[in-house]
């Protein structure tokens, strides 16, 4: 038990700070009062921080899950013998697509889907797909041909080779892609407030519109803590995976 806590102490520390910030922001009213002495309200009250955090996580989770499923599937399909025709196009599109600024993709999904959570999820999914896809391709192509030969030689079916050899060996690289994807997704979901998604970006945007620096700071601290908390969790998972595969 203690070993587990010790292993996860980084993420747990950030999680504790995040929860503290979410539930005890009101206790720090005197500090925020210093920032905006003239404002009528110094603590953002339009929605509760817990509600915003939950919705932010929901938007990110749905988008990231879709991105991971589609990205890994597409990566697998174009590296099979029957899908290999599409490999050059897909890998080129994955690298060109990453030059598109996330905020532009977010804005362009509004004419398609209107305002709200849905276009945000769509844009995040589309953009988050690229790092996952790119790393899946890199990971699968990095598996040595002799390894595949050997796996087939001991009588593994194509599905077994894929699941137990190729994806297993590629998993550290794929996980690195997922980490990049989730980092971008959390950051872009915050900007999603401008297209009507209800996320932790709301206090920041409201504060910028009303000139209330305290609101901005509260939103910024929460978004930052959330990002660091999730990223440090990924760091631990990657660390564990590297230990297991001796990487």
């Amino acid at each position: 038990m203690i070993a587990i806590i010790k292993y996860w102490r980084g993420p747990l520390f950030w999680l504790a700070l995040l929860l503290l910030a979410v539930f005890c922001m009101g206790q720090f009213e005197f500090l925020f009062r210093q920032l905006t002495p003239d404002a009528a309200e110094v603590i953002y009250h339009r929605e509760s921080f817990a509600q915003l955090l939950l919705n932010h996580l929901l938007v990110v989770a749905v988008a990231a899950c879709l991105a991971i499923i589609i990205g890994v599937l597409a990566g697998v399909v174009v590296t099979r013998s029957w899908g290999r025709d599409f490999l050059p196009l897909v890998s080129q599109v994955a690298s060109i697509g990453q030059t598109f600024p996330p905020v532009a993709v977010l804005a362009l999904s509004v004419p398609l889907l209107g305002f709200g959570d849905l276009p945000t999820i769509f844009a995040l999914m589309l953009y988050g797909l690229l790092p996952v896809l790119r790393n899946t391709l890199a990971g699968l192509q990095g598996v040595a041909g002799s390894t595949l030969e050997a796996a087939r030689g001991i009588g593994m079916s194509p599905l077994q080779v894929l699941l137990q050899v190729e994806l297993a060996l590629a998993s550290p690289v794929i996980l690195a892609g997922i980490r990049t994807s989730v980092t971008i997704t959390i950051a872009t979901a915050a900007i999603g407030s401008t297209i009507g998604a209800s996320t932790l970006g709301n206090p920041v945007i409201a504060g910028l519109v009303n000139g209330n620096t305290a609101y901005v700071l509260q939103g910024a601290v929460l978004i930052g803590l959330l990002a660091v908390c999730v990223d440090s969790t990924f760091e631990r998972i990657q660390h564990g995976l590297a230990l297991r595969y001796g990487g």
Partner: protein
């Protein structure tokens, strides 16, 4: 030459055919406020034009069934023609549906026009690797596409396009925003190169610093842009309130100052990481033999290490620039000048054409930066091999 069908081109051509037949080509709006009325290919362009596009796509699909070297050339030509006819088709559409007495009427691009553009681009990407000197042909097609568009815009034939209507009512702001966007990106790039190369030099000398420096730079990259911009507002406005010098420089809690600081913080990681990797990647025996030839330490650095490391360093600058172009658009939220202003204004007013006027130039800037630094890197790589 294989006679297997090219399934990629086949799929793309049939997909384009489906969308072209079902989707609207463009829409007509009487003014900026009223909803537009979408028109399909037949209603919008008439049957001769529609037949041309359909035959072109069918021809593409047919050639893809039994591709040979020459047929790939034909396919590339057809794809190029499909793209280049788009601005002409739009001009024709405008002539058919907008009269000179409607100064506020505007034409918006609809599903089938966008997908022809998108699928055409995918076709070029797929075909450029199948044709001898494909890259150069694709460049020629792009030059022709932009040339034709430019010509039509110049004659005013495309003036009722919604995007151009938005532009013409804000043309001076547009160029100001371009200047603001470029100067923020350029400033951040310059500063992060100076600081980044210095930091890289330092941590290559003092190895124990490497871990903490990379941990810090990675930490910055993890913080979402909106959060970092927000976190900088309070301290900067405090500093500005207490320093007349900063006030004279127009450093305030919002505006260019927090944007530039955040951009530099984000830009440092790619620059420092790539510089370190590149300089460490120069093999020790290469340096040894350069010393053996009697080169001084400075000569080894400028004549051996730097040229060998340059392509990787430029790759870092490429990543930095693309990232900075996107982040500058976000920085419009904290009052920094850039194309983000149009995006967020448009979102606020529900004016999608204005959003487009901000988003498209941002994407174009990012693509141009990508092309520029990619060719710089390959030029540097070629220099090494000579």
């Amino acid at each position: 030459m294989t006679s297997e069908p090219n399934r990629v081109v086949l799929t793309l051509a049939l997909l384009a055919l489906l969308i072209v037949c079902l989707g609207d080509f463009a829409s007509v709006q009487a003014n900026r406020i009223v909803p537009g009325q979408g028109l399909g290919l037949l209603a919008g362009l008439g049957w001769p034009w529609m037949t041309g596009i359909v035959v072109g796509l069918l021809g593409l699909a047919g050639l893809a069934l039994r591709p040979t070297g020459r047929r790939y050339g034909l396919m590339l030509g057809l794809s190029g023609a499909l793209l280049i006819q788009l601005p002409v088709a739009l001009a024709w559409f405008i002539q058919q549906h907008i009269s000179a007495e409607q100064p506020y009427a505007r034409v918006g691009l609809a599903a089938s026009c966008w997908s022809l553009l998108f699928i055409g681009a995918l076709l070029l990407v797929e075909l450029q690797q199948r044709v001898v000197a494909g890259r150069h042909w694709v460049k020629l097609i792009l030059v022709l596409l932009f040339g034709v568009s430019w010509l039509l815009i110049g004659t005013g034939a495309l003036a009722p396009l919604a995007l151009l209507r938005e532009y013409s009512s804000r043309s001076s702001t547009f160029w100001q925003l371009l200047y603001g966007h470029l100067s923020l990106v350029g400033g951040a790039l310059l500063a992060s190169l100076l600081i980044g190369l210095l930091v890289a030099w330092l941590i290559l000398r003092v190895q124990p610093l490497q871990r903490p420096v990379f941990a810090l730079l990675n930490f910055f990259q993890t913080i979402p842009s909106l959060a970092l911009f927000g976190l900088l507002i309070a301290p900067l406005s405090y500093l500005s309130a207490h320093s007349p010098l900063l006030q004279q420089l127009n450093v305030r809690g919002i505006g260019w100052a927090p944007a530039l600081l955040a951009l530099i913080a984000y830009s440092l990681l790619p620059v420092v990481r790539n510089t370190c990797v590149a300089l460490q990647g120069v093999a020790a025996d290469v340096i040894e033999s350069a010393r053996g030839m009697g080169m001084s330490g400075w000569q080894v650095f400028t004549q051996v290490q730097l040229p060998l490391a340059l392509p990787v360093i430029i790759e870092g600058v490429r990543i930095t620039t693309i990232q900075a172009i996107g982040l500058t658009a976000v920085a419009a939220l904290i009052g920094a000048s850039g194309f983000g202003s149009f995006i967020f204004q448009g979102l606020g007013q529900g004016a999608m054409d204005l959003v487009l006027l901000g988003a498209l130039p941002t994407i174009v800037l990012a693509l141009l930066a990508d092309a520029l630094f990619s060719s710089l890197a390959s030029w540097a790589r070629a220099g090494v091999q000579r």
